[in-house]
C-alpha cells in the first residue's frame, strides 16, 4: 500500500512530464545537433561537428544581436516606468475599481497579438492624427515618419509586453503588508523616503520577475520588427525566422537560436537560484 502510494505522484506527473521531455527537452538536443551540421538544403545536411557554425552565426549577425538587446532593454525599461505607478494605483488605491482595472490590464490578451500590432501600424501610419501631433511637437525625425523606425518597434514591444510587467509588480504590491508604510510615516519618514526605503525594496522580487517576463519574450520577438519596423530594424528573431523558413539554412538558424537560448537560460537559472522556483510559480514559500 505504501509502495503504491509512493508511486502515485509519478503516475500523476507521467503524461505531462513525458510530453514536456519529448517536445521541449529533446528538441533542444536536436537543435544543438542541427547547429553542428554541414552542407546545404539542396545537397542535404550531414551530421558533423562544425563548431564554426556558432562563431559564423554570431559574427554575421552582430548588429541584429546588439539591436535586439537594445530594443528589448529599452522597451523593458519604459514598460517598468509605465507599469509601476499603474500597479501601485491598482493594488493600493483603486478600491472598488480594482477588479475592473485589472481586467483592463489583461484585456489586450483577448484580441490576437497580431491584430493588436497591426492596429498600432494603423495608429502610427504616416498621415494618422497621432503622428501629426508628434510632428507638431517635433518629436519625430526630419522626414516625419514614425513607422519603419526603431522607435516604432520599441513602442510595439513596450505595448505588447506591458501586462507581463504590470502583473508581477501588482502581485508583490498586493501581498505587501501596508502597515509597514504606516510605520514609515509614524517614524517621520517622508513619502519619498518611505517609498524608496520600504515599498521599493519589498516589491523588488516583483520588479525582477516583471523585467524577466518582459525582456525574454521581447528579445526573441520578430512580429513587431516585421510589422512596425523597416529595413534597418530587423532583430535576431527576424534573422532566425528567415534562415529557418525562407533560406532553409538550418545549421546557422539552429546555431543562432541555440545561442539565444543559452544566454537566456543562464539569466533565468541565476534568477531561480536567487529567488527560488516559487517566484515563477506565483508563490513565495517554496524556496530552493
Amino acid at each position: 500500500m505504501t509502495a503504491r502510494r509512493r508511486l502515485v505522484p509519478y503516475g500523476l506527473l507521467g503524461p505531462g512530464a513525458i510530453w514536456l521531455a519529448l517536445f521541449f527537452v529533446v528538441p533542444m538536443y536536436f537543435m544543438g545537433e542541427l547547429a553542428l551540421r554541414t552542407g546545404t538544403f539542396t545537397e542535404g545536411f550531414q551530421s558533423g561537428f562544425e563548431v564554426s557554425n556558432f562563431s559564423d552565426a554570431l559574427s554575421g549577425n552582430t548588429t541584429q544581436f546588439v539591436r535586439s538587446f537594445v530594443y528589448a532593454g529599452t522597451a523593458t525599461l519604459i514598460a517598468l516606468l509605465i507599469a509601476y505607478p499603474l500597479a501601485y494605483a491598482i493594488a493600493l488605491r483603486a478600491g472598488r475599481w480594482k477588479l475592473l482595472l485589472l481586467f483592463a490590464v489583461v484585456a489586450p490578451f483577448f484580441t490576437t497579438y497580431l491584430i493588436r500590432t497591426i492596429a498600432w501600424k494603423t495608429i502610427l501610419a504616416d498621415e494618422s492624427p497621432v503622428v501629426s501631433v508628434l510632428q507638431a511637437l517635433q518629436l519625430v525625425p526630419e522626414d516625419g515618419r514614425v513607422l519603419a523606425t526603431g522607435g516604432a518597434v520599441i513602442a510595439g514591444l513596450t505595448y505588447n509586453f506591458l501586462p507581463f510587467m504590470i502583473l508581477p509588480i501588482y502581485a508583490s504590491l498586493e501581498r505587501m503588508d501596508t502597515s509597514l508604510i504606516e510605520a514609515g510615516k509614524d517614524l517621520y519618514a517622508s513619502a519619498t523616503q518611505t517609498f524608496l526605503r520600504v515599498t521599493l525594496p519589498i516589491t523588488a522580487p516583483g520588479i525582477v520577475a516583471g523585467i524577466l517576463l518582459t525582456f525574454i519574450p521581447a528579445v526573441g520577438d520578430y512580429i513587431n520588427a516585421e510589422i512596425l519596423g523597416g529595413t534597418g530594424t530587423s532583430m535576431i528573431g527576424n534573422v532566425i525566422q528567415s534562415l529557418y523558413l525562407e533560406q532553409r539554412n538550418y545549421p546557422e538558424a539552429a546555431a543562432l537560436s541555440f545561442m539565444m537560448m543559452v544566454a537566456i537560460l543562464g539569466v533565468v537559472l541565476i534568477y531561480l537560484r536567487l529567488a527560488g522556483t516559487g517566484a515563477f510559480m506565483g508563490d513565495e514559500e517554496e524556496r530552493g
Partner: protein
C-alpha cells in the same frame, strides 16, 4: 511638506486651489486611467474598423462569415484550441495535484521542467521543435501544431491549478472521508467541484494561448493555416474587414466567458467558506 498640504487644505477656499488639491490627491488614479486607456486603444481601433463602411454601415457584420479563407482558418484555430485545451488541462491538472499533494524524489527537476518552457522565448521553442521534426522528416501540419500547443500550454495550466490547490482547505476532504466516502468519491464529489473554478480558468487560458499563438505555429504549421497565420499572410496584401469583425466577436465572447468564471469563482469561495464555527 506635511504642513504645507495641511495649510493648503485650510486655505483652499478658491476654486483653482481646490482643484489643485483634488488633482494632487488623485494624480495616481488619473494616471491609472490614462495608462489603462492606452492599453485599450488597439482594441478600440479593431472594434471601430469592424464597422467600416462598405456600401452600407456595419455591412461587414451582416456578412461576418463571407470570407471562406477567414472562416476556414478560424475553424482550424478553434478546433486546435479546443483539442489543446482538453489535453493540456487534463495533463496539467494531474501534474499540479502531484506537485502540491505529494512529496517525492525529483520534485525540483519537475518544477524546472515546468518553468523553463515559460521562460524560453517562443522563437526558440518553435525552432527547437522544427529541428526535431526536420530530423525525423515529420510531416508538418495539424498534428505538429497540436503537439506544440499542448507543450506550451501545460506549464500555464499547472501554475493556475497549483495556485488554487495551495489555498485548498483539506479539512473538507477529511470530513468526507470521516463520513465514509471512498477516496474516489471524495475526489469526485468534494475535491473536483471545489477545484472546478481553477481548472476552468486554466482551461480558458490554454484555449486563449492556443488561439493566439503565432510564432511557434509559424514554425510548425506546414501548410495548415490557423487564424493568426492567416492574418499574417493577409497583412501583406491587405486584411479583409471580416478579420476585424471576427476579432471583435472573439473579444466579446472572451469577456463574457471571463465574467462567468469570476462569478463562478465567487460562488465556489462562498461554498468553501461555509464552515462550522471554530472552537478555540
Amino acid at each position: 511638506m506635511e504642513a504645507a498640504t495641511a495649510t493648503a487644505r485650510h486655505v483652499s477656499d478658491s476654486a483653482p486651489a481646490r482643484a489643485w488639491t483634488w488633482l494632487r490627491r488623485n494624480a495616481l488614479m488619473i494616471y491609472a486611467g490614462i495608462a489603462v486607456a492606452y492599453m485599450l486603444i488597439p482594441i478600440a481601433i479593431v472594434g471601430l474598423f469592424s464597422f467600416e463602411k462598405g456600401t452600407a454601415q456595419g455591412e461587414y457584420w451582416s456578412d461576418a462569415f463571407g470570407q471562406t479563407a477567414v472562416n476556414d482558418s478560424m475553424i482550424m484555430s478553434l478546433e486546435l484550441a479546443a483539442l489543446t485545451m482538453v489535453v493540456a488541462t487534463a495533463i496539467g491538472t494531474l501534474m499540479a495535484l502531484a506537485l502540491v499533494r505529494y512529496e517525492f524524489f525529483g520534485r525540483r527537476a519537475t518544477n524546472l521542467l515546468i518553468i523553463l518552457p515559460m521562460a524560453t522565448p517562443e522563437i526558440v521553442i518553435g525552432a527547437a521543435l522544427l529541428s526535431l521534426f526536420i530530423t525525423y522528416s515529420f510531416d508538418l501540419g495539424f498534428t505538429t501544431l497540436f503537439i506544440a500547443h499542448v507543450m506550451f500550454s501545460i506549464s500555464f495550466v499547472v501554475v493556475v491549478v497549483r495556485s488554487r490547490l495551495i489555498g485548498f482547505d483539506r479539512s473538507i476532504e477529511e470530513a468526507a472521508a470521516d463520513l465514509g466516502a471512498t477516496p474516489f468519491a471524495t475526489f469526485r464529489l468534494v475535491t473536483l467541484p471545489l477545484l472546478a473554478p481553477g481548472i476552468l480558468a486554466a482551461a480558458l487560458l490554454a484555449f486563449a494561448l492556443s488561439l493566439d499563438d503565432f510564432v511557434i505555429s509559424n514554425f510548425n504549421s506546414g501548410t495548415a493555416v490557423t487564424f493568426p497565420l492567416y492574418i499574417f499572410g493577409a497583412s501583406l496584401r491587405g486584411i479583409p474587414v471580416q478579420v476585424n469583425v471576427l476579432a471583435t466577436m472573439l473579444f466579446a465572447v472572451t469577456v463574457i466567458a471571463i465574467a462567468l468564471v469570476l462569478w463562478q469563482q465567487r460562488r465556489a469561495e462562498q461554498m468553501a467558506s461555509v464552515q462550522p464555527e471554530q472552537e478555540v
